[in-house]
Symmetry: C2
Subunit: 437 residues, 2 copies
């Protein structure tokens, strides 16, 4: 058996582009753990440069002036740098810098889920073309080693489906709404005051961030190109305390889930608030924690749980990629995963073809016959009813009726609701939530 074993003498050069929260964490870990990492792995890392917008800004870590630059291209041209860590986020200029890094023969580590979701083909394509490695552990679920587990731990499995709580902001808000029976607006304000939600929280609460992470996970889990703009997305903005309450009485928690399923026809990918039975492992994930539940054909059910964001958890994920790639650099050899052009492009199920169980809240006139009419219309559209709960009258004018359905097609449901919501005894637009787990 031939082998070229490795002398571990070679120092691997690291540069950061961007030094915000996660970058600060990476610098801090590099500064404190570089000797421990060498002792554990035999790998010698050296931080060679940090590209920042303002070198004079006060930072939480001490960085020698000689490491600081404002020119990312100086980093890309520097032959002593092996691994470029992109931590500026967003599409531009991150996209072009990463493509350029590959062209200069650098390996890249990034936490940029928006970019990985929206420009996957370009990024993976350029990496493949230049035979360079791309580390993306930090892009999904912060400190949880979910990407590595998918890429390496479960390689021989076919993943049939996964469901994840991948946005800590939304989970914090939903946990607060459920615990305190509070409204969305109050829970959001609470999350903002705790620093768990941005001042403009749209990316989180409208489900976009979860959809980015879903695209990243689905690509790895299903080994398929994933067209991000085809993913149906619903956020948590319109969730009301009363539905949290009714769901709870029926034995369900409501969680914002990123759902990926694969069947013979293609990919069923979506982000939406979902009713989960309270004894489902994901129902017990509270606050800013993240968790991903998945099913491999050989492993069976798996759950990964931990902190999905924050300086050190995310920096820990960046470090795991740096170390893994540094091993390849030190070994001067690595294997490449298939290029995007070699991946199948499985079709993504459009929103109206989704099949799901549903939670429906009708607000109806409190008189005989109304429920019968609703049930008949649902039946005419092939929607079978699992249970009906009529809630106490509120002043006699209208009452909420909660219906749980068996699995139905979204298109059928929408058609039925178009008819039902036109009826004069139905007093407001019907609330629709999906049930899973």
């Amino acid at each position: 058996m031939r082998s070229v074993n490795v002398t571990t003498g070679r120092t691997v050069g690291i540069a950061l582009i961007g030094c915000g929260t996660v970058g600060t964490g990476v610098v801090r870990i590099l500064q404190s753990e570089i000797a421990a990492i060498q002792a554990k792995t035999g790998i010698r890392l050296e931080l060679k440069a940090v590209c920042v917008r303002n070198p004079r800004k006060k930072r939480a870590v001490r960085l020698p002036a000689r490491l600081l630059t404002t020119d990312p291209h100086a980093i890309l041209r520097d032959p002593s740098i092996d691994i470029v860590v992109e931590l500026i986020g967003g599409i531009a200029p991150a996209r072009d810098l990463i493509l350029e890094a590959f062209r200069h023969g650098k390996h890249v580590v990034t936490a940029n889920k928006a970019l990985l979701a929206e420009a996957a083909t370009a990024i993976y394509g350029e990496a493949a073309k230049h035979r360079r490695l791309l580390g993306i552990e930090a892009s999904v679920c912060g400190g949880i080693p979910i990407i590595r587990s998918l890429r390496e731990g479960l390689t021989s499995n076919n993943i049939s489906h996964f469901m994840g709580i991948v946005n800590g902001t939304c989970n914090y808000i939903l946990s607060a709404m459920s615990r305190q029976n509070s409204d969305f607006t109050d829970a959001l304000a609470d999350a903002q005051s705790m620093g768990y939600a941005e001042q403009d929280p749209s990316l989180d609460i409208d489900g976009i961030d979860s959809a980015h992470k879903l695209a990243v996970l689905a690509r790895l889990a299903f080994r398929s190109e994933v067209p991000f703009d085809r993913i149906p997305v619903e956020g948590i903005r319109s969730l009301s305390a009363v539905d949290m309450q009714y769901a709870s009485e029926l034995g369900y928690a409501i969680k914002l889930l990123a759902i990926g399923k694969r069947d013979g026809k293609g990919l069923d990918l979506r982000v939406h608030p979902t009713l989960l039975p309270k004894d489902h492992p994901l129902s017990n994930v509270h606050g800013v924690y993240n968790a991903v539940f998945m099913h491999g054909d050989h492993t069976g059910d798996l759950l990964f749980y931990g902190k999905g964001a924050g300086m050190l958890p995310t920096a820990s994920a960046v470090m795991s990629d740096i170390i893994a790639i540094a091993k390849a650099v030190a070994a001067q050899s690595w294997t490449m995963e298939p290029a995007p052009e070699d991946l199948p492009k499985l079709p993504v199920l459009p929103a109206d073809r989704i099949a799901s169980r549903y939670y429906l809240r009708f607000q109806v006139a409190d008189r005989p016959g109304v429920l019968g009419n609703i049930a008949r219309t649902l039946g005419q559209h092939d929607i079978s009813i699992l249970s009906v709960q009529q809630k106490g009258t509120h002043g006699g004018r209208s009452v909420p009726v909660i219906i749980l359905t068996y699995t139905a097609r979204e298109a059928d449901l929408r058609a039925a609701l178009r008819q039902i919501d036109r009826r004069p005894d139905v007093r407001q637009r019907t609330v629709v939530l999906r049930v899973d787990g």
Copy 2:
């Protein structure tokens, strides 16, 4: 930047020694997934040989006669074999075959936790000496990629502690005892009839298997040699339904845990039944499922959950090691972790130096003053009481008294109980369980 990129043409030769349950699963996955694995990873695997005791035995997989051998040494000498997968279990002859495999330049994959726990220094030492890789993912928690997460995902972290449900047999028995309020003997018989417990279940129910896995995990988590024979171990044989019941009334589940903690003084490693608050993530791990909860200084709390045993989950873990090592073989290059002689040998806390909270069940005469005497003796030994529950009288002769303590030293507790259990109004040996989480 220099690099030697890889042509993926080289076929990597695999041989199995042992073809029982897990081996059958590995053969099945290799036979069905070999093309998919090549498409996903670029790695070409070939099953070259399977060493069995009886080549004529009827098997659940079809194996061509030319692959079967009864001579493991023929495999070790075969230059076309790169990776030897040891699946016979136990110490002899597995130990010598693995050592011999390294000497012949083979890489080794094994699920043998007993061997890894009891002969770690010899095994890792020989691997290091010959610069060969050792895959052990299948040795702990079956299909859960816990080893890979510790080795690679969390490399930059210092793990301060972990707690795991690592034996599915015990967890099945405890879940049954708790759900049906049944006795240990009945629950064990149930587990045996379901095929979840061996006819001789001692290795599982006496905690030995959990201690093996604890040793394997602690070595990786704490980067230290772990003397297996110093680990204090208590199994679940003497657990009674009444303590499950009382614990539950106090808000606790009882789980058999493998616990590893590291502090300035060394390693606190132990296996014992443990009271955990019902809202602790590990309390909700039921049946044959496994889970490991751990705390990294950067990642914070993490939980990994899944099937800890069974043909395909364990085979999936073996496959993940085969593929990872095959990548190194194809790349003709790899890095080595530190040899055992370079690992610190942190001292293991002896049983009497453990500090814990305790659940104590006293069976005492139902008359005034008895409780006061017990409380005074505990106090004299520096043991503070968190709560006391006296349970209803059973026929007037004696009553159970449940005391939960604050953290105390095991030596102090044992000294106090020696005094207390000698008292005439204490009617049976006091039941001691530890509380954590």
